[in-house]
């Protein structure tokens, strides 16, 4: 009980106690802190969505890549393929230049000495995990053996363990192509359907089909859509004009790119872009106002009379004026693009840089920044956009790549009437599809 009394005594003394605080703590400071918190929330939500999306897509991409390159399955898949060439079988049995060969030293001598398997039989039945890739070899650069009328011989690269199949002796040294001695990488001869186990190469037509340069086309086409946004916020109470607004852009382009080596591509194309902005401006001004107070003073000296006194004071009153803002810019441009492809761990990535010199085709409204806004006076202005993007590349089909690109894009235009250049940097997300043709 005594303690309760003491506690209530303490409560009475301390509960309603008021403590002073420093000047840095004020209502304005609290409001600024609150606005900063709100702004952080606004910026974080889309960023988190983008990052989460990237992780999901990246994870799926990794899964895809890992599934494709599983070391236990890839060689077996390759092994089930065979290639036969009509009319080549008999010759294959007798002519060393056109026979199936074991192209590496690790093949056992027993295998090398067998001669009973010929190309026409084609189908390889060994259960050994050994065959890496079918190899094309030729003694003449044109892939044609003038003496035998058979332009190619088809080699099977065997490694790691002996094979029980009957195959011909390798007598020539061969130039490896698409060979993976570790058996870890999936390889291809340009055959699209992995499920197909037997391929016919028609007589007389294979020269063009087996041209290895076909696999190394240096030309690519790219289609891309890019979006982005930027928030303009100015809560500074000291500024006369402050603007609160949002800007968005959407940009679409098609490019022809050439692989110039070392993962670098250069190209050009056409692009169309839209940029819109909506917002609100606020002007704070101080007005001087005059207040006239009047009161009566009674003069007590006879004769008693009253005198009316007028007291004039001036005060500063803050007046706020607000208005809305919006603009729209449509433009065409000729993008000049550079791309750099690189590997980071098991993921393939692409760094993209791009200049888009062009022309606006339609403009309207007032363009704004944090501290100013002004009307866009002409319809046709010069524009120059700069885009920087980096993102993972994912193979979606043979010769097709999907690229997810978080990006940063600066939009600038020069108002030809006023000679003023204005611009804004927006951040966002883009998707590109790249096709090797």
């Amino acid at each position: 009980m005594e303690n309760q009394r003491l506690h209530s005594e303490l409560r009475d003394k301390l509960h309603d106690l008021e403590s002073p605080f420093n000047e840095r703590v004020s209502f304005e400071a609290v409001m600024k802190k609150r606005e900063r918190k709100k702004r952080r929330a606004i910026l974080w939500i889309p960023s988190m969505v983008v990052v989460a999306g990237l992780f999901v897509v990246g994870g799926l991409g990794m899964l895809w890549v890992n599934t494709d390159q599983a070391p236990e399955t890839a060689p077996q898949t390759t092994f089930s393929k065979s290639i036969s060439k009509p009319k080549l079988a008999k010759k294959g049995a007798t002519d060393n230049t056109r026979k199936l060969t074991l192209g590496v030293a690790s093949a056992s001598p027993e295998i090398a000495s067998t001669e009973s398997t010929v190309l026409s039989k084609g189908k390889w039945t060994s259960s050994q995990r050994v065959v890496k890739v079918l190899r094309i070899e030729s003694e003449s650069p044109s892939f044609v053996d003038p003496e035998t009328e058979s332009p190619v011989s088809i080699g099977v690269h065997i490694a790691e363990s002996p094979v029980v199949n009957e195959v011909n002796v390798p007598t020539n040294t061969h130039k490896d192509m698409l060979c993976d001695p570790q058996g870890l990488e999936s390889v291809s001869l340009g055959i699209a359907d992995p499920a197909k186990t037997h391929f016919e190469i028609p007589e007389g037509e294979y020269e063009a089909q087996w041209d290895p340069t076909r696999l190394q086309s240096k030309w690519y086409a790219e289609l891309s859509a890019t979006t982005g946004s930027s928030v303009v916020i100015n809560f500074n109470e000291d500024d006369r004009l402050s603007i609160l607004g949002n800007m968005y852009h959407a940009n679409y382009h098609g490019l022809i790119l050439k692989d110039v080596g070392r993962g670098v591509m250069l190209g050009a194309g056409l692009s169309y872009g839209e940029m819109v902005g909506t917002g609100e401006w606020r002007i704070r001004e101080f007005e001087q106002r005059m207040n006239i107070d009047s009161y009566d003073v009674v003069v007590m000296i006879p004769p008693v009379q009253s005198v009316r006194v007028y007291d004039t004071t001036y005060s500063q009153v803050r007046v706020e004026t607000v208005g809305s803002l919006n603009y729209r810019i449509d433009k065409f441009a000729i993008p000049l693009a550079a791309r750099y492809h690189f590997m980071l761990g098991k993921m393939a990535w692409r760094l993209a840089g791009q200049f888009n010199p062009g022309m606006t085709i339609k403009t309207s409204g007032d363009f704004f920044s944090n501290t100013e806004y002004s009307a866009i006076t002409t319809q046709h202005n010069l524009t120059m956009d700069v885009k920087l993007a980096v993102g993972p590349t994912i193979s979606i089909y043979k010769d097709w790549l999907l690229i997810l690109e978080p990006n940063l894009m600066h939009h600038a235009f020069r108002d030809l009437n006023s000679g003023v250049t204005r611009g804004k940097t927006l951040t966002g997300f883009g998707v590109s599809v790249l096709h090797n043709f």
Partner: protein
Amino acid sequence: MTEQELVDGCIREDRICQRELWNRYSKKIMSLCLRYCNSQEEAEDALMEAYVKIYDNLSKFRFQSSLETWMRRVAVNLCINKIRARKHIWTSITEDEYRLGYNDDAFEHMQVDQIMKMVEALPVGYRTVFNMYAIEGYSHKDIAEMLGIDEGTSRSQFAKARKVLQQQIEKAEGGSRAS
């Protein structure tokens, strides 16, 4: 301006009402924060954060208590979160220690500043529980829930706080008698 008008105005983001809320309660909340925090600066930061929370969450205020009580609760929760973030380790004491009490009329003749200084000088754990129990009037059960500790720990922290305060009061009384 009534509490209802004040709250409605703040929800509408009316600057006049928001400023009035600040003017009316900020010094009291500051006093509360000072009792929980280790320094003036920390208390000022807590005050500003508490007001940001209050402005953001006023729409959730249901008028089941007075506005001041609700605001104090928000501020206490914020201070407690700060203390919990510092990972303070709560210790228990024996039952004998718990039975210790104050002297009669221990605080009766003391100035508020003196009491405040004594409370501020308490270690974090003691101070927090002492503030919540003796000044804010929470039960040990509530305190245990809010701090994430056992009810026994809350009681023992409070008992220790009382013991330290007792010693300080005796020291202060001894000093005043000597002078």
